[in-house]
Amino acid sequence: MDPIDVHLLRELEHGLPLVPAPFEEIGKGLGLSGNEVMERIRRLKEAGIIRKFRARIDQRKMGMTANALVAWKPAGSGGNVPGKQLAAFPSVTHCYERRPVPGRWEYTHYTVHHGYSRGQVLDDVRAVAEQTGFRDYTVLFSTREFKRVPNVRMRENVSGIP
């Protein structure tokens, strides 16, 4: 990643302009052609720095207002299996393995579910529980969102460029 890549990522963070040739438009401010911009994006994707290039959508504005974090204590096998099982469900948007707090909070796996209603989310979660056999879980519905921004923000929380 060179300084031009860093500038490019900072520009792209604002979102692509909604004009017919958006990469060309972005390139103007950086002294790059549209093709050069696309080539750099392609390389950043190959390097794994850009995971995906896509729309970020406010699902609540589309009526999808229910959101639950579910903490699981999977039964049985352990290792990578429970995480893979949970992640396989299309209704699961995120799946993480986390270190528990022994004696106070034994859950090790976390999934995130979104839906049009709490009922719909609970149905999804119950289906996951039934099909995996993981019966020990807690559903944490969100009641207020105080902050929701991308994990990685070039202008805010990326300091040293590796």
């Binding site: 692509l16 060309e24 959508i57 504005k61 999808m64 049009y116």
Partner: protein
Amino acid sequence: MSTPSLPDQTDLAILNALQDDLPLVSRPWKAIAERMGITETDIISRMNRLKDTGIIRAISPILESRHLGLHAATLVALHVPEERMDKIAAVISSYAEVSHNFERDHYYSLWFTLAAQNEEGIQRVLHEILQQTGIPESDVLDLPTIKKIKIDVRFSFLPAQIRENTDGPD
């Protein structure tokens, strides 16, 4: 199109398509529009409308944290007394290291994610937050990330009439 301000079927198809990886071609909107059988002009004007209403936040790259120097992350849960929630949540949200900060329906009522260059960075911020807010250690769950197994936010938007049939009891 009796209610042009509400997302119609074509808008839903656009929103579903824009959640896929964007085609890296000089006219990406045209490429998506052609697949859907609409014009470039139409997709651009619809995207502008969806952006104006705040439904589309941005079409931008999703970056991989560990390739950008963020090597440690955790999820923290706090038991926060109801009457102190707004103030404490505001303190936590003010940190650049915090990306998500939600109130949840549980004894542990405030849940936030922290990312930093390393474990020490995380502990420094967490310690500062606890000092500032006066939350005792016994009301804190620190749940460091061991493994990201899936991070693929993708919403399948349904037309309102179908949505009603999939609704469970609320």
